[in-house]
């Protein structure tokens, strides 16, 4: 039992990180129907920015978190303006290849500047652990992951449901043309979406850094894909769906490597993806739509 709870806690921390990344995928897909393959790499950049802040600028966790989020949101806006905007009306496949190109660019530019080596993340939060019950250990990093995730989710819910920008985002996502006719500046809304999604990925990056202790330029690829799986699982384009999807994938993956074989843990996310797509392609919270003939 204690082991199960331990695995659950580990799964929840991993799942929170997936959820933070998945939100960016889901928001961008909801608005411009693009699988932003570069999103996983923005999360990687977030980890590196945090690393620089903590190691070289001697900043604390929260300043590093905020700087990393701001940097990532700016990066998100710039990427959208330079790479995706010219392709707004191009084919889906052209947009997808562009996203892959951006992803490669971010990965290899980071590799060029910072080197391909794995770097050890500075232990800024120390080595404090808690024992809420016999055989269960919660460390300070996990507590920070939960706290930051909950706060960011709350802020996001507030932005999406209570602010004018959020209303515009929901409008564009439900019908872009109609929103434009109603006088919503869609370009601006798309920029905001990229900014918010990227900021969340940046936060996830720094959290992963302190949790796993290591970062490298290609660290965004696999978590990026899994976060996308999480977004599809919950119903792509639906914000609470990304949260549920992220947590579910994180917990299942941890359970599989805890009780089964860690070699199969990467296959699990994809197996779940395929099952979801075959049983309910619109995802857990999605609605089925029908093509008009």
């Amino acid at each position: 039992m204690a082991e199960f709870i331990q695995q659950l806690i580990n799964g929840l921390s991993l799942g929170s990180i997936y959820a933070l990344i998945a939100l960016g995928y889901t928001m961008v897909y909801g608005i411009i129907k693009l699988i932003n393959f570069a999103h996983g790499d923005i999360y990687m950049i977030g980890a590196y920015v945090g690393y620089i802040c903590i190691k070289y600028l001697n900043l604390g966790f929260f300043p590093a978190l905020i700087i990393s989020m701001i940097t990532c949101s700016l990066l998100g806006i710039i990427i959208e303006k330079i790479a995706y905007k010219p392709l707004r009306n191009a084919t889906r496949i052209a947009a997808l290849i562009t996203a892959i190109a951006v992803s490669l660019f971010l990965e290899y530019t980071t590799m060029f500047i910072a080197g391909a080596t794995v770097r050890t993340y500075p232990q800024i939060l120390g080595n404090i652990t808690f024992k809420p019950m016999e055989g269960v250990i919660v460390n300070i990093q996990q507590i920070f992951i939960f706290a930051v995730t909950i706060v960011l989710m709350t802020v996001l819910q507030f932005i999406v449901h209570k602010t004018k920008v959020g209303k515009a985002m929901r409008a564009v996502s439900s019908d872009k043309d109609a929103a434009q006719l109603m006088g919503i500046n869609t370009d601006k809304v798309i920029s905001y979406t990229f900014a918010i999604g990227s900021a969340l990925a940046g936060a996830a990056g720094i959290l992963v850094g302190i949790y796993y202790n290591t970062i490298n330029p290609l660290m965004g690829m696999l978590p990026g894909l899994k976060a996308f799986v999480a977004a599809v699982f919950g119903g792509i384009g639906i914000i609470p769906g990304a949260l549920i999807g992220g947590i579910t994938i994180g917990v299942i993956e941890t359970m599989v490597s805890g009780y089964g074989s860690s070699l199969y843990k990467d296959a699990v996310a994809f197996a779940i993806l395929i099952l979801v797509l075959l049983i309910k392609p619109s995802g857990l919270l999605g609605k089925n739509t029908r093509e008009k003939v």
Binding site: L96, L104, L263, Y264, F270, L277
Partner: protein, 329 residues
């Protein structure tokens, strides 16, 4: 069209003759260059990569460019082919085993293609892309875990090397001809109609599932061959070679050449190999330049080099004899 029927037939057979002569000549020249030692090892490796990439790209083009089914899992079928042929030739080391290995590779990849295709091809667009990506990753992870057969993450080494220029050329040309013939048949047109409009296609009696799966299976079959040739040429394979970045590399060739253009895929395979050779000297900057090139091409020429057009040798030779048919209308 003022040409008489006889003239038409003679241009047709002329066209075939020219194509045939060019195919033989290219083979002969390269073989001679290898024989004389002019074409060094490095260029031979590039040549092998070009041939393998052409097989991969042409077969993926059938699925994605012609049938309109967005697949990001082509490397998975290549992996199945590579491992099948490698395991067979490692056990029975003979030229016959190599040939059997190639066909076993192709058939096994095609069977997996059926199993994967039937459930997933119900999905559309991005969802299909992600599902195929996921399945290819699962194939790779399974290979990683069956280490008694596959050597796991360490990979398989000292695979007997049978692939040479002759085999590469035979399989590349056969792949191109077979897929070209298919596309220009009634079955191929059925596939193309699915890309154009699924609902209309169904309404005129095209069985969507059948033709989507068919294209997918043919694609998998040839990807299996490419994998077999690869493992026997480079005599070392590991699961990491067939990850989703490899699928993306193949997709990039198809998109760059033009979705729905076989000659585009061929040109793009050659062009990318040349660019990649040239970029070798830039070492670390190589991938950055590649990414920027890709980005620029997508922004300025999203339809690829050829669009859906085909480039034909005989057309160049016969330019004077080919007046446009519709000048009257």
């Amino acid at each position: 069209m003022k040409l008489s029927k006889n003239a038409l037939i003679s241009t047709k057979s002329n066209k075939k003759l020219i194509n045939f002569l060019v195919i033989i000549a290219v083979y002969g020249i390269v073989q001679l260059l290898i024989f004389l030692g002019i074409l060094g090892d490095y260029y031979q490796v590039t040549l092998a990569m070009i041939c393998i990439n052409i097989i991969l790209a042409v077969s993926l083009n059938l699925v994605t460019g012609f049938t309109g089914q967005f697949s990001l899992g082509h490397a998975g079928f290549m992996a199945i082919g590579a491992y099948t042929c490698a395991i067979i030739t490692k056990r029975y080391d003979s030229p016959l085993a190599f040939i059997i290995g190639i066909f076993a590779a192709a058939i096994l990849a095609a069977i997996v293609g059926v199993l994967v295709g039937i459930p997933t091809l119900r999905l559309k667009g991005d969802y299909l892309a992600i599902a195929t990506l996921g399945l290819a990753e699962i194939i790779r992870i399974l290979i990683l875990n069956f280490d008694s057969f596959t050597g796991g993450a360490r990979g398989l080494g000292s695979i007997p090397q049978y692939t040479n220029w002759t085999w590469l050329y035979i399989f590349t040309i056969s792949t191109i001809i077979v897929i070209k013939n298919f596309i220009n048949s009634s079955h191929g047109r059925a596939c193309i109609s699915i890309r154009e409009d699924e609902i209309a296609s169904e309404s005129v009696g095209i069985n969507l599932t059948r033709y989507k799966v068919l294209a997918f299976v043919i694609g998998a079959f040839f990807a299996g061959i490419a994998g077999a040739l690869y493992s026997s040429y480079f005599y070392y394979i590991k699961p990491g070679l067939f990850d989703f970045m490899k699928s993306i590399d193949i997709l990039v060739i198809v998109v760059l050449g033009g979705m729905g253009s076989l000659t585009g895929s061929i040109l793009a395979s050659i062009l990318l190999a040349i660019i990649s050779t040239y970029l070798q000297s830039f070492a670390e900057l190589r991938m950055i330049i590649y990414a920027i090139l890709l980005l620029l091409i997508m922004i300025f020429r999203p339809q690829g080099l050829m669009g859906t057009k085909e480039f034909s040798l005989s057309k160049i030779f016969n330019k004077k004899q080919a007046p446009h048919e519709n000048s009257a209308s």
